[in-house]
Structures are given as C-alpha cells and as structure tokens.
C-alpha cells in the first residue's frame, strides 16, 4: 500500500547510519552474558589475562555485530523484511545502505571476530570444544538465504549459541576454566532471551503463519502458543530461582524475585484471555512481557554485582 505522496526519509550522518544498522539495544543479548562472567571474575580476581579478556570481548561483540548485519542482509534478500515493516534497522529499507554493503560489513565483522579468536584458541585449546560446535551451528543457521528463520528449531539453536556456548566459551577465555555454573546460567539465559523472541513471533503470528515462517510459535499456532508463552515465562522464572537457590542468593534478591512473580500474575492472566492474533491487546501484552524480561535481567545483574563486590 503506498500513499499518493512519497515520504522521503532524510539520511542521517554515516556514523549514525551504522549505529542504527547495528541496533545497539539488541546488544543486551551478548552484553548480559559477558557481564555475568566478567563481573564475578573481576570481583574474585579470576581474570587470567586482561589482554585475552579484551580479545574475547571484542571477538564476541564483533561476531554479534556480524550476525546482526548478515541477518538484515539475508532478510532483505529473502523478502522477510517486507513482512515486518517496523522491524530491523531499516538502514537498507530506507536506502541509507546498500544490501551488499551491509552483507559485506557483516562478513568483515565475522572474519575479524575469528581473527581475534585465534590467539585465544592458541593459548586456551579448551576453547576449541566450544568454538567448533558454535561455528557448526552458526554455519548451519546462517548459510542459507533465509537464515535461522528457515528452520523450525532455529531459535532453539540460537538459544544454545547465545546461552551456554557463549557463556561457557567466554568463561574459558576470561578465567581459563569451564564451570558447570556458567553452562547452567547460560542455559537459563538462553531460555530467558528467547522469551521476548516468542512474544515478537506471537505478535506477528498471522503474518508469519501466512508466510510460513517456521518459528515455534507459528508451529504451535494461536491456542497452544498462548500456553507456550505462559509456561515459558513461569519455567524460566523457576529455573532462575533454582539457580539462585544453588548460588545461595541474598534475601534481597529473593524479595525482588517474589515481587516479580507477583507482577507476573496480571500479565499471565491477561495473556490467557487473548482472543485474537490481530487484537489490540497483543501489542500491549508484548510490551508488558518485555518489561518483565528486563526486570528479571536487572534483578540478575544486581545480584551478580552484590555477590562480586
């Protein structure tokens, strides 16, 4: 649908364009696990080598930037970005950057990430056990034109990649060892960061189902996804509580968790009452769900900070 008068979007300055293309807010997905490993390691004096830590941090950030840019490029090639006019960085869609430029920039970031990771692997061969499966998953998910959106379990693979593999690998790079704690925390983080992903897919269920986008939500459909999302939140919250129990969390953390659990009830109740994938409540509830997700991240971040100080 087009308007009779074209809307011209004035291009911002090139640093701003690239900043928008990189979507800084989405970096929470990798910054948070970095924080969860780095802060306790620094607090307990467990950083093996600051240079290795810096290399690892840069490698992770560059790898994520590369994946984001490649994802936008592939979404444009496949036409997936037309399904969601309000998603993505819009840098390609607004004509600020050519698709090939974005694709090449993504590839450059990924190659640079690999180059930075090489000395890490040289010094810490244990990393290979994590990097190899990670690269297999990455290649599997991102080598096809429609990227991870082509595979029904694509988002679960992303959760493994961004959860236990990322946290485990980063812990090895920072401390020189791999702990069960990091892998478990990574598993919980992977489940947690999928929650807003599910919410987003649910909000666009109708459009994505018609376009046959194979997400978990479109696979389950409206009725069962309603339950999936409710249960996902409850189980993630429970898993996090179990982790806190294992780590002997402070009373204050338990207090905040209790409040968060209470705050979840209205969301879960309203979610159960949704009647339509096209209704107005879906967007509001998605915002509420995202707020709950961010609050849990905040509680976790504060708990880690207190424990490490």
């Amino acid at each position: 649908m087009t308007s009779s008068s074209a809307i011209v979007v004035k291009a911002p300055l090139w640093p701003v364009i690239w900043l928008k293309a990189l979507r800084p807010r989405s970096f929470l997905t990798v910054l948070f696990p970095i924080y969860l490993i780095l802060v306790p390691a620094a607090g307990f004096g467990e950083i093996l080598d600051p240079v290795l830590t810096l290399l690892a941090t840069l490698a992770v950030l560059l790898a994520y930037a590369g994946l984001l840019l490649r994802n936008d490029y592939q979404d444009h090639l496949s036409g997936f970005d037309k399904l969601h006019p309000d998603r993505g960085s819009r840098a390609i869609q607004n004509g600020w950057l050519k698709p090939e430029t974005v694709g090449r920039a993504g590839l450059f970031c990924l190659i640079l990430a690999i180059v930075l990771a090489l000395p890490l692997v040289w010094v810490l061969p244990l990393l290979l056990w994590i990097l190899l499966p990670a690269m297999l998953i990455l290649g599997f998910l991102f080598l096809t034109p429609r990227s991870h959106k082509n595979f029904p379990a694509g988002e679960l693979a992303l959760a493994v990649l961004g959860g236990p593999l990322l946290m485990g690998g980063y812990e090895v790079a920072v401390t020189g060892y791999l702990s069960w704690e990091a892998l478990l925390a990574g598993a919980v983080w992977g489940a947690l960061f999928l929650f807003p992903v599910h919410l987003r897919h649910f909000e666009h269920l109708f459009v994505e189902s018609q376009a046959k986008v194979p997400s978990l939500v479109s696979f389950f459909g409206f009725d069962r996804s309603q339950k999936l999302i409710q249960r996902w939140w409850v189980l993630t919250l429970l898993a996090f509580c179990l982790l806190q129990f294992w780590w002997q969390a402070r009373l204050l953390t338990w207090g905040f968790l209790f409040l968060l659990a209470l705050a979840s009830f209205p969301f879960l109740k309203s979610w159960a009452r949704l009647k339509s994938p096209l209704g107005s409540e879906v967007k509001n509830l998605r915002t509420q769900g995202q707020t709950l997700y961010l609050l849990l991240c905040l509680i976790w971040a504060l708990d880690v900070l207190w424990t490490s100080l």
Partner: protein, 317 residues
C-alpha cells in the same frame, strides 16, 4: 426460469433439489434484491477477453454463490436480523437452514467447477473460500475490540472482502488457461486494492458519508465492530477517548467526541486522501496488467479503471 435481479441468470431453482423443503424459497429471498455486483464484475472482465458465454455464466454463478453463502453465514454469526431490508434467512427460516443453505451453495460451487474440468480454477476457488472463512473467523475474533489498528483490520479485509474481488479479476484468466505469473501478481494486487477500497467506502456509509443507499448509521459500532474509518479516526487517541467515542449513541455525539463536525469533515478528507493513494496504486497495477493484454483485450483496463469511482466514491463513473 426464475430470474434474479441481474442480467445473468445466476440462480435457477431447477439447479437445486425440489425435495428439500423451503430451500427454493430461501434462495429466492437471497438472490432477489442483490445488486450482483461481483457477477457484473465477472462480465466486465470476461467480455474483453472474449470468454465463452457458458464459462462467463459459470464464473458469475460461482462468485455469487460464494458471496451469498458468506452472507447467509455472516448474518447468523453477527446476529443481524435484516439483510437488504428484509428479514435475514436465519430469522425467517431457521439458523440451521441458514447454515446448511450456505454450505450447500459452496458445495454446488465445487460440483459446478469440477464439472468444468479446470483443476487450477478449482484449486484457486477453494483457496479463496478458505481465505474468506479465515477472514470471517478473524473478524469475529476482534468483535468488541475497539482498539484494533487499521493495519490489522486491513489484514482481515484482505481475506474477507478483497479475496472475492481478486477472484473476479483472476478467475477469467485462469479459465482461459492464462497463467503468466506477473500478470496474476498484478491482478492479485489490483484485486486487493479494489477490495480494500470497496470495504473502506462501505465503512464510510456507517458514518453517513456518501450514504445514498441509506445504510444504518453507526450500525457497525453498535454491533461491537470498529470498522476501518473508526480505526482511522481513533489513531493516536487514548483508551479513554476511544472508549467514549465508541459508546456514542448517535452520529452527532460521535462527531462531538472528535471535536465537532468541522474536525470530523477534516478526518473524512484525510481518510479520502489516504485512499487516493490506494487508487493511484490500483491504477499503476492496471498499467502493469495492460502490458500483458493483446490489443483487442486492452478494453479490460478501460473498464476496470473507473471502478474505484463506484466502489469507493459511491458514484456512477
């Protein structure tokens, strides 16, 4: 032979079993009084393409059967007691008969089309019926939701209303075994826009805008349904404001909630401006269709272009 209100003899009671009580009376009531616009659209598209008469009749009958089947079901789902100024079939006969009569029309469509022997036409028709039903289902799922956006309503209308217009444009070509993908893509897009414009023009009648046919004012709103114009004027308003707006008991109150009749007229103009964009897009699509037509067929575009006058502006071209 029973005549309907249109030139093409869409409904003939001899096509239906006489041993089914009340069926012929029900269909008599249904097909009389209808404007048969979709059948006329089929005729408009078929004639420049020199479609054989029997095929044209089959297509016209098919689309009217599908459309009227949806009306039979619609009235029961919405609990509308009147249809075209007369008691709706479910009130006059029974809800069971209304549902079965609608189902029977759809069954006849499949019987007739499969007899024609064009499997692509059968498949496409089945897809359109499926889309129509999905649109009905989704529309029912948002009844009572007065905060739904125009974009979401467009998705519903694309399935519920535009699907039949798309069929009217594409089916004659499919019947002629003309399957060029780009042609059908353009026809599909043109049909979508035509359907959207028709729906939006119809929705404006609810607010007594260009309402020469005397449609009931605020009927949609009172049925718990926020139509496209309602969604358009609600943009950017708080939930409290929308709540007051949708509880309006008459048009004057509705206008007052929007800031008075002058503000209301401005919103109508803004809505018209948006739809002028759709009309421009529709004309561009027709230009693309024209590229696929032989010189003798180019009259098709001349016939289709002014339809927006009728369907949106509600004036004879």
């Amino acid at each position: 032979m029973q005549r309907s209100g249109i030139d093409l003899k869409i409904y003939d009671p001899r096509d239906f079993p006489a041993y089914l009580p009340k069926l012929s009376h029900l269909y008599d009531d249904l097909f009389h009084g209808g404007k048969g616009f979709r059948a006329k659209l089929i005729k408009m598209v078929s004639q420049p393409l020199s479609l054989p008469g029997r095929t044209e009749h089959l297509l016209a009958q098919t689309i009217e059967f599908i459309h009227n089947a949806s009306l039979l079901h619609d009235d029961l789902v919405d609990r509308s007691v009147l249809r075209r100024g007369k008691p709706a079939a479910w009130t006059k006969y029974s809800p069971e008969y209304a549902v079965l009569a609608g189902d029977y029309l759809l069954a006849r469509v499949m019987v007739n089309l499969s007899g024609f022997g064009n499997i692509r036409l059968v498949q496409y028709t089945a897809e359109i019926i499926s889309d129509l039903l999905e649109g009905e289902w989704l529309q029912d799922s948002v009844v009572g939701d007065f905060f739904v956006s125009l974009e979401q309503l467009d998705r519903i209308h694309d399935l519920k209303t535009a699907s039949l217009f798309k069929w009217c444009l594409r089916a004659p070509f499919i019947a002629l075994e003309r399957h060029e993908p780009e042609l059908h893509e353009s026809l599909e897009a043109a049909g979508t826009l035509l359907g959207q414009l028709f729906q939006r023009g119809d929705d404006l009648l609810d607010y007594d805008i260009r309402n020469d046919e005397g449609k009931a004012i605020l009927g949609d709103l009172k049925s718990g349904y926020l139509n496209s114009f309602g969604a358009f004027v609600s943009r950017g308003k708080s939930r409290g404001e929308i709540d007051r707006l949708v509880k309006s008991t008459d048009l004057r109150e509705f206008q007052n909630h929007l800031g008075g009749s002058a503000a209301f007229e401005k919103l109508v103009k803004d809505f018209d401006d948006v739809n002028l964009g759709l009309i421009a897009d529709y004309n561009r699509r027709l230009d693309r269709v024209e590229a696929f037509l032989s010189p003798s067929e180019k009259d098709l575009v001349k016939v289709l272009r002014p339809l927006t006058e009728l369907l949106y502006w509600r004036r004879k071209p």
